[in-house]
């Protein structure tokens, strides 16, 4: 495996370091990294947690493509070498660890929670939904914030102000929820939000949870365009 190393104060820029990792049929790229960390070089830094595609921590660039390293098998790449780099589009803190503060700020700006207005119902109150109402947003709720979509998005790499795929998909997750009463038009209708997207579609292609952020963005473009043109229309 060829792993990008960047040690602040030591490396002026990222350099590649090669490690010999046994090719096991059941090893994911993350197992290879853990082998390096445990057996070969304890100084290697990377994020991981659940090893089962749920936590969204272990996204990296594997042979040039944004992938979850726990869900990408070493055997996909034959005898190697496999090149591991940090997610593109984000500042590197160390080795394979990137700074995601920008995304976290954008995510909270779309208020990704159920916004209720009026009388507060008791905590025991139920908000029943039909299967169709659940289906309307369920796909977007699968997002695990792994940021592969940001890393694959050429618009985000060119313009870091772009609100980005996951934040917009998660905003739609609440917009399309029958229990939500919020209005996110002020954030989503901005030039750097849905209008920044040029529908390249890479976000949807790389999503490990089969969320379709590109669809979420195009759908909100219709909403936002109609609301801009017809000021009296809502949603």
């Amino acid at each position: 495996m060829e792993v990008a190393r960047y040690r602040p104060g030591q490396d002026a820029e990222p350099v590649f370091q090669g490690y010999d990792v046994p090719l096991m049929a059941d090893w994911a790229v993350l197992d290879g990294l853990n082998h390096i960390k445990d057996q070969l070089d304890g100084s290697l830094s990377y994020r991981w947690s659940c090893r089962m595609g749920v936590c969204g921590s272990c996204g990296m660039t594997v042979n040039g493509e944004a992938r979850l390293t726990c869900g990408t098998f070493l055997s996909e790449y034959g005898d190697g070498p496999v090149r591991i780099e940090p997610l593109k589009g984000f500042p590197v803190i160390r080795d394979l660890v990137v700074d995601i503060d920008d995304f976290l700020a954008k995510l909270s700006s779309v208020r990704p929670w159920l916004i209720r207005e009026g009388e507060e119902l008791p905590l025991t109150a139920e908000h029943a939904q039909t299967p169709a109402q659940l289906e309307a947003y369920k796909q977007y709720s699968m997002c695990i914030n792994c940021l592969l979509c940001y890393s694959a998005c050429p618009v985000y790499v060119l313009d870091p102000d772009f609100l980005g795929p996951a934040a917009i998909a998660l905003a739609q997750r609440y917009n399309l929820d029958s229990r939500d009463m919020g209005d996110r038009f002020d954030v989503l209708g901005a030039d750097e939000a849905v209008w920044g997207c040029t529908f390249v579609g890479e976000c949807t292609r790389v999503c490990p949870k089969h969320v379709d952020p590109a669809e979420a963005i195009q759908r909100y473009k219709v909403t936002a365009a109609l609301r801009s043109v017809l000021p009296w229309s809502k949603r």
């Binding site: 038009f185 030039d191 365009a225 043109v229």
Partner: protein, 115 residues
């Protein structure tokens, strides 16, 4: 609260309208006039017949709408593609003026020809 006024929603509506119209109408026209008629599978329409069709104001208006929407679709796509591929996003205003200006000019030509 309202988002900053931006022309993008209007331009995008023209773009998406153009995409729909282009996808629905152009393949049929290309198939008829570009493939089937040159191959002799379908007879060429007589000039009188076409002129008779164009005499109807509604047909002319529909043609202008199709041409204008398709031109705006192309302009929008050329603007964004060139800005991203050539890295000239900082010249957005002149690029946009050029692209949409060309679409408007094409629309004027279409109106003049069919008017």
């Amino acid at each position: 609260m309202r988002a900053r006024r931006s022309p993008e929603p209007y331009l995008w509506l023209l773009f998406s309208g153009g995409g729909v119209v282009a996808a629905l109408v152009l393949p049929v026209l290309v198939l008829l006039f570009g493939v089937l008629m040159p191959l002799g599978i379908v007879d060429w329409p007589a000039a009188d017949h076409l002129r008779g069709l164009l005499d109807h104001a509604l047909v002319r208006v529909a043609l202008v709408v199709v041409v204008v929407l398709c031109l705006f679709h192309a302009a929008h796509r050329i603007r964004h593609t060139s800005e991203e591929l050539l890295g000239i996003a900082r010249f957005d205003l002149p690029v946009a003026l050029l692209c949409y200006g060309a679409a408007i000019a094409g629309g004027v030509v279409a109106v003049r020809l069919l008017g």
